[in-house]
């Protein structure tokens, strides 16, 4: 028979699409799904608005990120529950309706039947996914999400859909009865969604240790979140992720697997996607055998060869993908141990550093209007400038090799200090970038520090951060932070933390991190710049929330991750002591204030945080440093006090508005022994 080339559409696809898209049903379902997604995102939008009113974080990108991650999650759930339904009846349905034999009596290849069924069923699910893309694109209005994130989430959704589709169709071909196939497919979905998390928790509970991340690899939710969250957990991602995590009923860190906080590991989805691909391939090949009416396991060498080639191609593609991204993830990352800090002899002073309006950044073009300020632990005045710089570098010192995005990696590398003159700064090629700056001055007025973050205006993948310390009267200028980072869904900005008493060091945090839903914002790691030579040392890696340095600068108090409570870390030995903070309810802790003599701490517990008001009530605890004994100074008070200072031995300063912006705060005293609250009298 002479070969006549002509476009031949798989008959099964034609037939399936004809009947599936006939009438109103398909469109009603599509409309319903979109309405559901729309309603859910609107509700979430209101929720985000309600919770973020009380944080000082930039609002708009947070809304965008939260909406996006929620939409992606909802779509994933939709996919997980729709896909098995549309595919698990594909083959068994034909068998049950007694149409299968007629189909098999035709010269149509059984594999074509399978393929046709799969494509037509999946194209319907894809329609649901892609119909939501324009709606998901609305998050670009808010910003905070790059098209890359959207592509990543779509790729994951599509791969998960294809896998679940193949699982459904395999069950259908294997079991022959739609009911059984459907039940088993859903069991597989539930197993993928629940069992990794369950095993993870069980492991953690039994071993009392951080479980290995790979347990979570099969979980599609973990894969999705690992793609959308920054590579380091508890990175500067907006607090609302965490809030969202609570809303969705689980700690996101649990879903994405936290990994070691000091190394940059591959996101989980790098493993999940190949796993899904392999499962898809194997089940599909098995299903092509199962649909055959006769000669099921009579495999011709040609078919075996095709399967082998498919496996090799797949393995090769995965290997190439891993190899090409190897240097981004597998390069050794910096893991420094706490460095002994010399004991200074000076005593307490106010932690809050005075703030200076930043010197104007070199702006070739006109600066545009300021946007909302970034959170700074030092309550510094921030200034936002959008500028477009010429493409070429400016100034003779702009020769640092780490400044082009092409060479960047997610690895956080502590940059060697550069000493430059007061001549034009080594600002990298920051064309088409939105810049934000903030600054503060040392208590003795000798030094000022300026932070800068530059976002690509086109929403691209990498952003730039800088922390520069300058002598106010001299020419010394140290680059403490000078790095490009991958822009996941969130970003981090280096923040000045504390000027040492002896005037030798500036402590700063590179990973300011909100807790829970952004109730308390402070650093999670600690670095310091030696103001004498500009060298940067990591004092501690990201440890927890609300780092607070003792007056003698030898002990660090913070709220540990994983519900560790209050942790006291000796910076000389690295030894830690901890005490649980358990008010018996959902809580967030922070605002750790040391007593002037360093023998006690007070801290604020927000009870049932993340509600419309930032918390339902507030407790103030006093903890003895020596014994870790806890005293409740204020018990669940509705006035929402926050501990802000401890100037004299018996009086702790409280503010009742510190977290509620825009309103005048009222200050109060609380007696550090009796807990008696009095009006602030100066």
């Amino acid at each position: 028979m002479p070969f006549k080339p002509r476009l031949r559409v798989n008959p099964v696809i034609v037939k399936e699409l004809r009947s599936r898209m006939r009438g109103a049903r398909a469109f009603v379902i599509l409309t319903g799904a979109l309405l559901l997604l729309g309603t859910a995102s609107y509700a979430l939008y209101r929720l985000v608005l309600a919770t973020s009113r009380y944080t000082r974080s930039p609002l708009s990108p947070q809304i965008g990120q939260t909406l996006f991650i929620a939409l992606a999650f909802l779509e994933l759930m939709m996919v997980c529950f729709i896909t098995p339904a549309v595919t698990s009846g594909a083959i068994s349905g034909e068998r049950e309706k007694l149409t299968y034999e007629m189909l098999m009596a035709t010269p149509l290849r059984p594999a074509s039947v399978l393929w046709g069924k799969l494509v037509s069923a999946l194209s319907y699910v894809f329609l649901l996914i892609f119909a939501a893309v324009p709606m998901a694109s609305l998050v670009f209005i808010f910003g905070g999400v790059s098209p890359r994130d959207m592509v990543k989430s779509l790729v994951i959704l599509v791969v998960v859909t294809v896998m679940l589709g193949v699982v459904g169709i395999f069950m259908s071909a294997w079991l022959g009865r739609t009911i059984v196939a459907t039940v088993l497919s859903y069991l597989v979905v539930l197993a993928l969604l629940i069992s990794p998390v369950f095993v993870f928790i069980l492991f953690a509970a039994l071993r009392q240790a951080e479980p290995p991340r790979w347990i979570l690899v099969p979980n599609p939710v973990s894969a999705l979140f690992s793609a959308l969250m920054p590579s380091i957990p508890a990175d500067g991602s907006a607090g609302l992720f965490w809030g969202l995590g609570m809303v969705l009923g689980g700690d996101l860190r649990l879903l994405t697997g936290s990994g070691s906080p000091t190394s940059i590991s591959r996101p989980l989805y790098h493993y999940s996607l190949p796993l899904y691909g392999a499962v898809t391939l194997i089940l599909y090949l098995l299903a092509t055998r199962l649909v055959r009416p006769i000669q099921r396991w009579h495999i011709a060498w040609k078919e075996a060869l095709t399967a082998l080639v498919l496996f090799l191609l797949f393995g090769g593609a995965v290997a190439v993908a891993f190899a090409s991204t190897a240097d981004r993830y597998e390069r050794a990352s910096i893991l420094s141990t706490p460095t002994p800090v010399p004991r200074p002899m000076v005593v307490v002073r106010e932690v809050v550093a005075p703030v200076k309006v930043p010197p104007p950044v070199p702006v070739p073009t006109e600066p545009s209007a300021a946007v909302s300020p970034l959170p700074t632990p030092t309550s510094g005045v921030a200034q936002d400038i959008t500028l477009t710089l010429p493409a070429q570098t400016s100034g003779p010192t702009a020769s640092k090799g780490t400044l082009t995005p092409a060479e960047t990696s997610a690895a956080k590398v502590t940059v060697a200090p550069t000493k430059v003159g007061r001549t034009p700064t080594a600002t990298p090629v920051l064309t088409k970038m939105e810049l934000r700056t903030w600054s503060s001055t040392s208590p003795d007025g000798k030094w000022s520090v300026q932070g800068l973050v530059a976002f690509p205006l086109n929403g691209g993948g990498d952003y730039y951060t800088q922390l520069k310390v300058e002598e106010t009267e001299g020419i010394a200028e140290w680059m403490a932070v000078d790095e490009w980072s991958h822009f996941g869904l969130g970003y981090t900005t280096p923040q000045p933390f504390h000027w040492s008493r002896d005037g030798r060091f500036l402590y700063f945090t590179n990973k300011p991190v909100p807790d829970g839903c952004g109730v308390f914002v402070n650093g999670s790691d600690l670095h310091r710049v030696d103001l004498g030579d500009g060298s940067v040392t990591e004092v501690v890696p990201p440890l927890g929330l609300w780092l607070s340095l003792s007056p003698d600068e030898t002990t660090l108090a913070y709220i540990g991750y994983c519900d560790r409570g209050l942790v006291l870390r000796d910076l000389v030995t690295g030894a830690e002591r901890e005490t649980k903070l358990d008010p018996g309810q959902d809580y967030a802790a922070g605002h750790i204030i040391w007593s002037p003599d360093g023998t006690a701490l007070v801290l604020t517990l927000a009870i049932r945080p993340c509600l419309a008001n930032w918390a339902e009530s507030v407790s103030v605890l006093r903890v003895e440093v020596a014994t870790l004994e806890q005293t409740t100074l204020i018990h669940q008070d509705g006035r929402l006090f926050t501990t802000v200072g401890w100037p004299t031995r018996d009086k702790v300063l409280l503010s009742d508005k510190v977290l509620l912006s825009d309103e005048d705060e009222n200050l109060w005293w609380v007696n550090s022994e009796t807990g008696q609250v009095t009006m602030y009298d100066g």
């Binding site: 006549k4 002509r6 008959p11 009947s19 007694l98 035709t106 006769i294 000669q295």
Partner: protein, 310 residues
Amino acid sequence: MIAIETRGLTRRFGKVTAVENLSLQVPAGALYGLIGPNGAGKTTTLRMLAGLLEPTAGEIALNSQVAGHDWRELRRQIGYMPDFFGVYEDMLVWEYLDFFGRCYDLPPDHRQQVTDELLDLVDLTEKRDAYVQTLSRGMRQRLCLAHALVHDPQVLLLDEPASGLDPRARVEVRELLRELGAMGKTIVVSSHILAELAELCDSVGIIEKGRLVASGSLDEISRHVQQGRTLRLKVLSDRGEAEATLRHQSGVGEVYEVNGFLEVEFLGDDEATALLLATLVACGVKVVSFSEVSSDLEEVFLRLTKGEVA
């Protein structure tokens, strides 16, 4: 020329043997009836012939081509209509035929033509744009028959095409088969009702418990079976004496008494029959009537299948 030939075809389902050592030959252009009681193995045989069921042993040849790994190509020569079948929901009648046209890889213009011709053939033209699930049972049966014809196969395998139809619809199906037979197609049609096939088929195979008990034209089969004939006689004198006399004659088998008649199973030709009568009379048996019980196909069938017809 032999269109379908099976050699030692056997199929077992676990311990049950559905078809055992079945060897049959269907000449090209023949209308072959496969007759047997329910569960005799007709459907199993047809499914194996259509390449839907793997034989446990034995082989199948279509137009002298032995079916092996190339079943897919052989399927183009076969039209198969199962005994029980479903129809796709949400599908129009023309789309149904169009779909199978696509399955057989017909070019688009040809597909349209074939669809219209077949709808005309099975008298469903006015139902062209109706949904398949709205058709009556008879119409569905005809549509299913039409689907087996889209690729103009030389061999048609029809499993109980008239089952569940009212008498009028049966006649229609029969007419259709006659028409198709006239087109020169080789048709294998199965039924558990002999009369349905008796006047239609050139040759029949009678299948019982998975075994082919007889095969050939109806005349051949009848003759084969009717070498033993049944004689019915009425005697005036003592029946016991008459029976005893009969039993002494050669060729006489069982003797029964039915409604005052004696029925005799007798093996012999007409000559021998005449001689038997003469002998009876000579022995003093008073014969009032003597006749041969005419055996129709149904009886042949019953005899062959040992009365186990459902």
